[in-house]
Amino acid sequence: MKNITTALLTATALTAAASTAQADAAALSIFDWSGYEDQGFYGDYVAKHGGAPSYTYFGSVEEAFTKLQSGFAADLAHPCTDALRKWVAADLIKPIDTTKLSNWDKLLPQIKDVDGVTIDGQTYMVPFEWGNTGLIYRTDMIADDKISIQAMASPEYQGKIAVPDAASSAYALAALATGASSYTDMSDAEFQAASDFLRAIHQNVRFYWSDAGQLDQALASGEVVMGWGWNQSELNLIWNETPAKMMRDVDKGIATWVCGYVHLKSATQSDEQVYDMLNALSAEASGKYIIESWGYAHSNADAFKSADQSLIETYGFADVDSFFDGSLFFDAVTPELEVRMLKEFERIKAGF
Amino acid sequence: MNDQNIIEISKVEKRFGTFTAVSDFSLDLKEGEFFSLLGPSGCGKTTALRMIAGFQDHDAGTICIGGQEMADIPANKRPTNMVFQSYAIFPHLNVGDNVAFGLRKLGLSRAEIKTRVADALDMVELGGLQSRKADELSGGQRQRVALARALVMRPKVLLLDEPLSALDKNLRETMQLEMRRLQQRLGITFVMVTHDQYEAMTMSDRIGVMFAGKLEQVDKPEVIYARPCNRQVASFIGGMNFLNARMTGDGGGRMDVDVQGFGALTIDVNPNVRIHGTDLLVGIRPEQLEIGADRPEGYDGYLQGTVSDVAFYGESVHYYVQAPGTDDPIAVAVPNYFHTVDHKRGDTVWLGVQNASIIDLGARESQK
């Protein structure tokens, strides 16, 4: 937690100093989550253009999609892979010219192949950060050998678990729990099994969290003993000295998400400036910064070598390869399945 | 006062939807005259005043002020100023600024405005209160400010809408005299709307009595008191006993009538319309009746009845006498200076009346 605060203070100090920077730098508009305006993420861009781009914030990828489809314009946006198919279908984004990316070869190969980073052979996204969604649990309340996704359905934990208020995350959890062959293209029977699992754990759900802080605080206070959440939450708890960790056993089920930057069709700035930013974001220095200061995994493979190894150990990114092999990726779900998931999830949450 | 007409109003009419507020309103006012429009509330007198001021358009007829037709001239361009019933003292301005409000539009110099404001305030005896705020003024002071604010504009006609109704009785009487004196000194025409007959009578040169949108009678106060033209006017000005009568003889000017209860009398009537056999309504003022336990001497008509009620008013006592042949008890007012008369309920008394006290109020069919 101290790290983040320091980083934020540094960043804001930098921002304040840069307020006189060239207007040219700020002409590049980025549609992003709040927090990613941190200048440590794109130092090369600041060095070259003398300032930061301008940021517009969204709260969720869905909200971003609605706004973009309504005609909202920006140069770059920051969605995650599972949303990309829809974005492409809605004709919102341009393919990425990988030859213009100076760091393309240094990016983790597994991540470059994720469905969503590339769709139908075209590259649409420059992956930036990735991380895990997994089961975070209180180590003092549940023994390591007793923990499993299936345990979420156990009557023992009534009112003691938390699940994300997002259909895709919930179904990823259910797919892992029920052993579905493919998360992105479940068969009817698999979908039914996954839905049944979500129904089963609904009885135990204390709340469906919509902000990560809600999960962190509930875990810290012992209000819930386990919850499906992001690795960011695990870190938060570690920083707050709460005995909790993420279940990182790939056999028991863990998911990986990848988010990155896409070149919007509504972009108005030159390709050169856009790719300057993309290169800055994917640079090794950026990766080192985000790993050390934010605890997120970065797409640049070199960054893992230059970053503080003890931190990487703590964060659980040490063995990237074996990790990727067994983990479920948040690929773009087929449109029909997505509609079914959304609909069914609403019913499940309402107790139907 | 001279004989020049300052206001000439001819056949003015005002309707609100289907309701006719003022109809067939014609009136000429002389320069320097103090004129009162008197009538009960809702009779249209305020509407008439507001039409002169320009706050209300009229639907028919003409209004001329100083010989100029006013139809297309808005209120802010008319040579009239108004004292409002609520006084309308601007609450955000002090006394001096209130009085100077209109002057500031005239393009006068600062010094000139200052002098005129000071003069106007002196005139209403408020000198030195210039910096008072509106909410620090008493009712009488507010009235004076309103007066000064209007008069400082040197209007040809000053319009006053119930200017004294918000004041208590003593203050009202003082202000009546003061305003009358001020008007006479300035020689400006005042048109005042009031529902108070005593106020109208003490202040005015002439009174116009209005009922239901119609100007019923316009005349000097003493004439309206002595010779009201009909029952409505009579009932609104002073007390009045109404009695039925019938013409028993023809002739010019004085005629014989048979007055209910009192019998045959000879009175002044309108010679053109009254003929033998006409049913008349006549009025007798309570103070013009004599009352006695014995039949009083030297009266033209007599009536015997029973005292049904006694009302003590301080300066006078009113007896209500029920007599055979009359519908309502007849009111008699007796001055209280010597306590010479003292009748009680149930006493049998005599009433006496002079011919000259009988007022012809017109044919009976036309009135209620």
Binding site: S60, E62, E63, F65, T66, Q69, K86, A89, A90, G159, D165, A166, A167, H202, V205, R206, F207, Y208, S210, Q217, A218, A220, S221, G222, E223, P335, V339, L342, K343, E346, R347, K349, A350, G351, F352 | D57
Partner: protein
């Protein structure tokens, strides 16, 4: 035209037109579009503009919609009832039992000049597992285990909203109490009413317009609230507006969202009219 503008009606219309036109346009325009959308269909990222009843059929046949609608109305009803019932004595106190009316009115409005989101968040701090309430109860030894029924359920939604709408209930009721002629109360006492009878037979019926105004101001927006349920409602507190929000957001199914909005408005309108009619009738029956 110039002549018309000089008349009372003309001046009135001319002066009020900007405001009513503004509201009229912004009410009529969106409503029209909402209606149009409700007859269209979403096909992945595009809109199929073939007119169809499908959305309405779906909304009518889906038990989830009915369930959430009924729960929303029930929660909004509970919020309204709780807020008005809690607010009435305060309004009564301010109107009849204190001289410092302005001070009290100020006191009850000041808390609502903070951000609504932060206030809702505060409730989580109070009701949470390690929140103020549980901490206090644990420290004083009243309980051994933190209470879990305080947060993430309908109760928390009702409590939070009853707090949020408090001034909107107190003010209209206070105004209607303030208008009650004190002589009427004395007359009722004079005619032999006890204090309670006097309240039930005179004060209460006379303040029904205030109660109706307060109830509508609270009930209607509450049905449409989705922020509060998503923050403190937990797994059981979701309302119809959350479902609508999902259609306009993650599900990206605007036609269904529009249909649900219209169905919600119609239901709310129906319940509101029913409420006004029955309350007025009840008020008339008091003799």
């Amino acid at each position: 035209m110039a002549g018309f503008l000089k008349t009372e009606a003309g001046k009135g219309l001319a002066l009020s037109a900007p405001a009513s036109l503004y509201v009229g346009l912004l009410v009529a325009g969106p409503l029209g579009i909402l209606v149009a959308y409700s007859f269209w269909t979403q096909t992945y990222v595009d809109i199929d503009k073939t007119l169809t009843w499908a959305n309405y059929i779906e909304a009518a046949s889906d038990p989830l919609v009915r369930h959430l609608m009924l729960r929303s109305i029930a929660i909004a009803g509970a919020v309204t009832l709780a807020t008005v019932a809690l607010a009435y004595p305060i309004a009564y106190f301010i109107a009849f039992r204190t001289q410092k009316k302005t001070l009290w009115l100020l006191l009850i409005t000041i808390p609502f000049w903070s951000s609504y989101l932060l206030r809702v968040f505060s409730w989580k701090l109070i009701l949470g597992f390690n929140g103020v309430m549980n901490s206090a109860l644990l420290t004083t030894g009243v309980i051994d285990e933190p209470l879990t029924f305080l947060l993430y359920n309908e109760f928390a939604v009702v409590l939070t909203l009853a707090h949020a709408w408090a001034p909107f209930a107190i003010l209209p009721i206070y105004v209607s109490l303030q208008k009650v002629d004190r002589a009427l109360l004395e007359a009722a006492t004079d005619l032999g009413c006890s204090k309670l009878e006097r309240f039930l037979r005179v004060t209460l019926p006379l303040t029904i317009p205030g109660i109706i105004a307060a109830s509508l101001i609270i009930f209607i927006p509450t049905v449409g609230d989705y922020v509060t349920p998503s923050l403190v409602g937990g797994s059981q507190g979701k309302m119809i507006a959350n479902l609508i929000q999902v259609q306009f957001g993650p599900a990206n199914n605007w036609p269904l969202g529009a249909t649900l909005s219209l169905v919600a408005m119609a239901s709310v309108g129906f319940v509101a009219i029913l409420f006004v009619v029955t309350t007025t009738a009840l008020g008339r029956r008091i003799r």
